[in-house]
């Protein structure tokens, strides 16, 4: 049996749950999944400005807390916090370890950056147009599978740091490594993938993103514990969390996470296997203990998915609030004014009424809110044009309907993502080792 913890579900996730897992989880592996689809393109931009950067911005904070504990407890970390610069991240981890007087071995996994292999006539999956139709490409990263992580595990490194790896593969790799599973055994690969999929979003398996007071209550919600799995050699697992932490792991929370972001539950495609999520059985076996059993798979696809990041201009936004009688009427009048003034200049102008219809883009049933916030967003090719959206909203203070307050304006650079496919044989995985030694060992 091995114990694998999930210490982060996204780049900005809380720090303490991973620390608690490392301290009290008796873990063999702690996985930190920190790389959303767009994150790597943004990281690539940071690296192009400073070649030492391009790894996760929270790397130092997380490692400073975790390294002393994982060294003491012999837990290995697997993380995609390398983002656009896994080797730079490995060197930063060694620097932190040296500062803390810890001896550590770090393995950086590279080979996901396939920008130089992208061909103009490769097809964009979303549009079926050639890649050449995408302007200002800044990054292309293949979703690598366990084949990229396994050689890093074999080096015995304490920390394995990668760029783009399919999220479930970060969890499946240590199972294959530990149990000696064949990478041809599609059923075992499917089971490990399902466990990885359940764990990859951290708190989302333990009552996070689940709570709805009165309907789906979660105990001690502010102190949500993150999940870990005790995985057996047959690919079954028990999922639980550290005793005394908040949150809830039961049939309902597990069902919600099983289907999260799943395009086809009969064919969940990863670089390692095509897993059938309808073949797995979930059972509550105790308080905050859920058993995952069974699962079938089919052979992995011949191609790998590649995320291509491109510069997509700028978005300008502005917001202002109205409250009291006829709040919605005044907000709508303000929206009409903004539309008249910007419709010629700004492409794709969007006007929303926060408190009424801004997130569902419609309403079900009547709504008479006490306060409404007008929100305007527009796309622009340049920052100068994007700024105008917020400026027009701000100008409603003295030129718009009565009682407008709390105006705010924002601009953001937009990085878009499209996908394409690439044959596996173009991928060249490299493992780079960086090590620190304790000061006293150096003297000896």
């Amino acid at each position: 049996m091995i114990r694998i913890g999930s210490g982060a579900g996204f780049s900005g996730d809380r720090l303490e749950p991973a620390v608690l897992l490392a301290e009290k989880g008796d873990l063999d592996y702690l996985v930190l999944e920190c790389l959303a689809e767009r994150t790597i393109a943004l990281a690539q931009k940071r690296k192009s400005q400073n070649p030492l950067l391009g790894y996760d911005p929270l790397l130092e904070k997380r490692m400073e807390r975790l390294l002393p504990i994982i060294c003491k407890n012999k837990t290995r970390i697997i993380t995609n916090m390398g983002a656009a610069n896994p080797i730079g991240a490995a060197e930063k981890i060694v620097e932190i370890a040296q500062r803390l007087g810890i001896s550590i071995k770090v393995a950086a996994v590279t080979g996901d950056d396939v920008l130089k292999y992208i061909n103009a006539d490769d097809r964009v999956l979303e549009t079926n147009e050639p890649i050449s139709s995408v302007q200002h490409v800044i990054s292309a990263n293949a979703y690598l599978g366990v084949e990229a992580v396994l050689p890093a595990l074999e080096t015995g490194a304490d920390v394995i740091i990668t760029g783009r790896i399919a999220d479930p593969s970060l969890f499946l790799a240590p199972m294959i490594h530990h149990f000696g599973w064949s990478v041809e055994d599609v059923d075992l690969l499917a089971r490990g993938t399902i466990i990885g999929h359940l764990l990859e979003c951290g708190g989302q398996l333990a009552g996070g993103y689940f709570a709805d007071p009165g309907k789906k209550d979660i105990p001690n919600f502010a102190e949500l514990g993150f999940p870990f799995a005790e995985v057996e050699s047959d690919g079954s697992a028990v999922i639980s969390k550290i005793e005394g932490t908040g949150g809830l792991i039961n049939l309902a929370t597990t069902k919600e996470q099983l289907l999260y972001e799943v395009m086809n539950p009969y064919e969940y495609i990863t670089p390692d296997v095509i897993a059938d999520f309808t073949s797995v059985y979930i059972r509550e076996i105790g308080p905050n203990r859920v058993e995952i059993r069974g699962g079938r798979g089919n052979k992995k696809p011949d191609t790998l998915k590649v995320s291509v990041g491109y510069q997509a201009g700028f978005i300008g936004e502005g917001e202002i609030s109205y409250a009291g009688s006829n709040a919605l009427g005044r907000a709508k009048l303000a929206g009409e004014v903004i539309y008249e003034r910007l419709k010629e200049e700004v492409q794709d102008l969007r006007i929303d009424y926060i408190g009424v219809s801004s997130v569902h883009r419609t309403t079900y049933g009547q709504s008479h809110p006490y306060e409404v916030r007008l929100r305007v967003a527009g796309r622009a090719a340049t920052l100068e044009e994007a700024v105008k959206v917020g400026e027009e909203v701000e100008a409603l203070y003295t030129n718009g309907p009565a009682g407008g307050g709390g105006a705010r304006k924002y601009t953001n650079e937009v990085v878009g993502i499209v996908s394409t496919l690439m044959p596996r044989n173009k991928i060249d995985v490299q493992i780079t080792i960086r090590e620190s030694v304790k000061n006293e060992e150096k003297i000896v």
Partner: protein
């Protein structure tokens, strides 16, 4: 009697590009056959007509007594370039749960 799906089931939204996935999980597994029969693709398509521009596919997931609705062209282009407030469409699980069925 009409009931909101909110009373009978829970849901989580997910996104991939411009595609929105909405699970529908009855609180009581005994309600699964009834929900599977009443919450048809056609009804969901009609209910989400102001949100989903493309087709909707429904997958039955009998091992956990749940449905998965996969909605195409539903996220104003997708999280990275959308001008919407909720670029992921994360709040849209509760749009599905507003749907009413006769029970």
């Amino acid at each position: 009697m009409k009931k909101k799906l909110y009373e009978l089931a829970h849901s989580r939204a997910g996104d991939k590009g411009n595609t929105l996935m909405l699970s529908l999980i009855p609180y009581n597994e005994k309600d699964y056959p009834m929900i599977r029969e009443k919450v048809t693709v056609e009804k969901v398509q009609k209910h989400l007509k102001d949100i989903v521009e493309g087709d909707i596919v429904c997958y039955e997931v009998p091992n956990i007594s749940a449905l998965q609705f996969v909605c195409h062209q539903a996220l104003l282009g997708g999280v990275t370039t959308s001008l919407g407030m909720d670029t992921h469409g994360k709040s849209l699980s509760y749009a599905l749960l507003e749907m009413e069925i006769e029970v």
